[in-house]
């Protein structure tokens, strides 16, 4: 299977702060990929790197086999809908479509017009007068009608109300089914992604602890509850994602390819949301421990 996005040791630094560090991922084609992580984790940086809006400080990234943003042909293959779905406030909806038609050789005008009509946008309306949901739909239309092989969306639904959110994602999924494109979209809410994504990348504190198909993630992560036990005493194939201890009891979220035989554990399944939260709490827990050791 070919990769839509492959990153090797990818890093981006702003001044002295690393927004993204040692990111190594390989996303196969044909997925709707969710990029999830807390605010400020580096999601936007990763997506901008993939779209060619930023140059990496370290490592390599290839998107659809090419350097992001390197050439008009590469730009034509990748659609990008930026955070807050920016559009030109002074231009009308029709003028946005004209902009798309003029600047994209593969522009699908019939599709763009059909989508605009279906959403119910008046072509003569100025984009500055549109509601947040309508603006997002317009930006999505621009992204889709250029007929990319990969569409990248940065927090497309963050500022939308629940109804607009559902309509937006529904529209996206219809287009994905129709045109067989790969999609990467980011969100800080797993619930947004859960419905549409079949591949998940977790990004925490500028690093990527896990990236895999959601089915595989769900099948390899477990919650173990049982008598208190040190993580060193877990079997070799079990990687601890998060751990919580009370005086008597330990709760681990682990990743393992093997099945779990230890009868001392109560084994529970995780929802995608629990799983992501487990990865998110892992880092702060580690750094807290480091801080305590330093104080001692």
């Amino acid at each position: 299977m070919t990769s839509v996005l492959r990153a090797q040791g990818l890093g981006k630094r702003y001044g002295r702060r690393w927004a993204l560090r040692e990111c190594t991922i390989d996303i196969p084609a044909g997925h709707v990929v969710g990029l999830v992580g807390p605010n400020g984790a580096g999601k936007t940086t990763l997506l901008k790197l993939a779209a060619g809006q930023l140059e990496p400080t370290a490592g390599d990234i290839t998107v659809l086999g090419g350097r992001p943003g390197g050439s008009p042909a590469q730009l034509a293959k990748v659609g990008f809908v930026a955070q807050d779905t920016p559009v030109y406030a002074g231009l009308t909806v029709a003028e946005h479509l004209r902009l798309g038609a003029r600047l994209n050789p593969r522009w699908d005008d019939a599709m763009a017009r059909e989508r605009i009509a279906r959403i119910g946008l008046a072509p003569a309306q100025r984009a500055g007068r549109l509601s947040g949901g309508q603006r997002a739909q317009l930006a999505l239309t621009l992204g889709l009608a250029k007929r990319p092989e990969l569409l990248i969306l940065d927090e497309p639904v963050a500022s939308l109300d629940p109804l607009a959110r559902r309509e937006f994602l529904q529209g996206l999924m219809e287009a994905v089914a129709e045109h067989e494109l790969s999609v990467v979209l980011s969100s800080h809410l797993v619930s947004d992604l859960e419905r549409v994504c079949d591949f998940l990348i977790v990004l925490v504190g500028s690093r990527v602890p896990v990236a895999a198909e959601t089915e595989r993630l769900l099948a390899t992560h477990y919650r173990l509850t049982g008598p208190r036990r040190d993580p060193d005493r877990l079997p070799a194939g079990q990687h601890v994602v998060s751990a919580r201890h009370t005086d008597r009891q330990s709760t681990y979220v682990i990743r393992t390819d093997a099945s779990i035989h230890d009868p001392a554990w109560t084994v529970g399944q995780l929802s995608l949301e629990d799983l992501v939260l487990a990865y998110m709490e892992k880092r702060p827990a580690e750094s807290r421990r480091v801080a305590l050791e330093v104080q001692r």
Binding site: G69, A73, A82, D84, P86, Y88, A89, L99, L103
Partner: protein, 347 residues
């Protein structure tokens, strides 16, 4: 891409065009009247003195529009830098639309090239139209303007010929560059104005006089370069010289001094210089001798001279070309920087 550039520039370009059309219309209406006044006045004056009086009268009549037209030509490039150049990139950055447009199937280098090229040409064309119209209108006045308002004088020079084209191109490129670096429209506009004004002031004061090494030579005193004489109570004699140079009408006089026979500077133009050895009781400079027409010759005989450093009028076009070339080079440098910056740093 040209369509998008035009679409984004349409409003301000149309407004500028409307103002230019108004300017040209006003100049065309008053300019034919001015030309008629000039030719009839020239035809009716015969002697030099009469014509000088007519020139003064004509200039007085048209002084306000003359100054206003110069102001328009000088201010237009600044306005272009402020309202076309500075917001060009900052507006995209502030609205986030750069992320939209940079992700169409067009590299941002090409995007910038079209924007800079298209808007830059319009800017230069606008400055060209205003410059040509004003140069044509003030043609008769430039023939006859008094010292201080002649073609080579700093303000007038900047508003004639091809220099305004260079100013407009430079102001536009400066606005775009500052906008890229500052990333906020209002501060970028303010900084553009300050920088452009600084360059426009520094150019005539510090640079232009030395673009071609100025000519320095000594001139005999006469009607043209003598402002007046004075006899002090103690019987000493003073002479005050002018900034004009005999035989070089319209030259840009950078300095004019009275020097004594040994070459020592006694006084700058406009100041009284003590002349030793002039008889104030008899001879051409004595009050009793009537009008002091022969007095300068007397001072010349003693070896006093006017020492002047100047750029002659014939250098108008060479200086225009050199100055425009300098601004073109500035523009090219800023443009190069913009392309570098947009590839490397901006996102």
């Amino acid at each position: 891409m040209i369509w998008l550039t035009w679409r984004q520039l349409r409003g301000s370009a149309t407004m500028t065009a409307a103002l230019l059309v108004m300017l040209v219309a006003v100049l065309a209406l008053t300019g034919s009247q001015l030309a008629a006044d000039y030719s009839s006045g020239i035809a009716s004056c015969t002697r030099g003195e009469e014509c000088a009086g007519f020139y003064d009268q004509l200039f007085d009549d048209y002084q306000i529009p003359f100054m206003a037209s110069i102001l328009v030509v000088l201010v237009l490039p600044a306005m272009i830098g402020l309202f076309w150049g500075a917001p060009m990139i900052t507006r995209e950055l502030e609205a986030g639309t750069h992320l939209l447009v940079w992700n169409q199937s067009i590299t941002r280098t090409r995007w910038l090239a079209v924007k800079l090229g298209f808007a830059g040409l319009l800017a230069v064309a606008a400055a060209g139209v205003s410059g040509i119209a004003v140069t044509w209108w003030s043609g008769p006045l430039d023939q006859s303007a008094p010292p201080g308002f002649a073609l080579m004088d700093p303000l007038v020079f900047s508003a004639r010929g091809i220099a305004p084209l260079g100013y407009a191109a430079f102001a536009f490129a400066l606005g775009v560059t500052v906008g890229m670096l500052v990333r906020r429209t209002l501060p970028a506009m303010a900084l553009t104005l300050v920088l452009f004004a600084a360059v426009q002031i520094a150019m005539p004061l510090l640079v232009r006089p030395h673009l071609i090494p100025p000519v320095t030579s000594a001139f005999e005193l006469g009607r043209e370069n003598t402002d007046g004489f004075g006899i002090n109570r103690d019987g000493t004699f003073d002479i005050r010289i002018d900034a004009a140079i005999p035989g070089h009408t319209g030259a840009w006089v950078l300095s004019s001094e009275l020097v004594d026979p040994s070459g020592r500077t006694i006084a700058a133009s406009g100041q009284d210089g003590r002349v030793e050895g002039v008889s104030t009781t008899s001879g051409a400079c004595a009050p009793a001798a009537g009008p002091p027409d022969g007095c300068p010759a007397e001072v010349n005989r003693l070896g006093y001279r006017q020492k002047a450093t100047y750029q002659p009028l014939e250098r108008f076009w060479p200086l225009q070309w050199i100055e425009t070339g300098i601004y073109a080079a500035f523009t090219a440098g800023l443009t190069w920087f913009c392309f570098r910056w947009i590839r490397r740093r901006l996102s």
